[in-house]
């Protein structure tokens, strides 16, 4: 069928007020399915909160980096 997929990053807290942790990454054709997949795949804890965001919507705030969050190990703007 060739459905284009996006990469999503998953964040969660075990208890309200805890720091938000990055718990993983997934591929999904859209945000609706990304929400379902995130809750199903990263179910190892009794999470109080779980959030999912398209990787390309997460922007760098570090002055040395620019643009959206790249794949792991490939920080934009940083010398290879």
């Amino acid at each position: 069928m060739g459905v284009p997929e996006r990469v999503f990053e998953v964040f969660a807290r075990i208890a309200p007020g805890d720091p938000m942790s990055h718990v993983g990454t997934l591929n999904a054709p859209g945000i609706e399915l990304a929400r379902v997949y995130a809750w199903r795949i990263y179910d190892e804890e009794d999470w109080a909160e779980m959030w999912v965001a398209p990787r390309d919507a997460i922007l760098s705030a570090h002055p040395d980096h620019e643009g959206p969050l790249p794949a792991p190990g490939r920080l934009a703007g940083k010398p290879a």
Binding site: M1, A28, E32, L33, V36, R40, D43
Partner: protein, 263 residues
């Protein structure tokens, strides 16, 4: 049919259909379009089997009817499962149709007991529906995605949705067949109302509801062709006289592994 008999047959149909639905979800743990979809299918399978156990527990406690899926020797023609699940679903579009139509139909029926007077079911329905929320989101996501992209995949999905809707219309049964249960307060909506709700829901997910066999009906949607209720089996809630394929039941019941079952 008395309200007690109607309640019992409804519980058996829910349990049998969830068992078959769990089987098909489980089968699609492997071979889905993405590993994430396989994990979701596997997870939905576990929940359907869990719901089957809950419903079987109620049947045993309240009706002295024991259904042990591993020791069940009912022939296929005695199963009360929705006919769309009789055969392998064949493709991902079949799985999506079962998810969107069959699973949702069961949730609508369960939901109608949530605020009703039948405590054994009303007590367990909220937890079941909480799990089912994700099944519905999974179905909605895939139906919208495949439908909006058009092409052959959308045609196959429409065909599967149409067949699932026809088989599920039979599950909901002829008008007012369950009026006694609603009058008795066990449910807050009858199957006619729920069938319209299901049709409306599917119509809202696709661009052209006529492509899946739905027709505008007042302010809602109904199947374009009303079934001929002459051959309806009230005990199995089916029009199709057959049943699930024997090999599917054999797999579900562990027939090949009978030597290893505990006595």
């Amino acid at each position: 049919m008395s309200s007690e008999e109607s309640l019992r047959t409804t519980l058996v149909a829910l349990s049998d259909t969830k068992l078959l639905l769990g089987y098909h979800y489980g089968e699609w743990t492997f071979g889905p379009p993405a590993i994430e979809a396989g994990i979701a299918a596997c997870s939905m399978a576990q929940e359907e089997f869990g719901h089957t156990r809950l419903l079987d527990g109620i049947l045993k406690r309240e009706f002295e009817l024991e259904i042990d899926p591993l020791a069940d020797d009912r022939p296929p023609e005695a199963m009360a499962s929705i006919a769309f699940l009789d055969r392998p679903l064949g493709s991902w579009t079949g799985l999506v149709a079962a998810n969107a139509v069959v699973d949702m139909a069961l949730s609508l029926v369960l939901g109608s007991f949530e605020g009703g007077s039948y405590a054994p079911l009303a007590r367990v329905v909220p937890k079941m529906l909480l799990e089912e929320r994700f099944h519905a989101e999974h179905a909605d996501g895939w139906v919208r995605l495949i439908d909006s992209r058009g092409g052959d995949a959308a045609v196959r999905l429409h065909d599967a949705l149409g067949r699932a809707l026809a088989a599920t219309a039979a599950f909901f049964g002829p008008p007012d067949h369950d009026a006694e249960l609603v009058r008795a307060g066990a449910r807050d909506a009858g199957d006619d109302v729920l069938r319209r709700r299901l049709c409306g829901r599917i119509a809202s997910l696709v661009v052209d509801p006529a492509a899946v066999g739905l027709a505008a009906d007042g302010d809602g949607w109904s199947p374009a062709a009303e079934p001929d209720w002459g051959g309806w089996d009230a005990h199995r809630r089916r029009l199709d006289p057959g049943g699930p394929r024997r090999e599917i039941l054999d797999e579900l019941r562990g027939t090949k592994n009978v030597a290893f079952k505990s006595a």
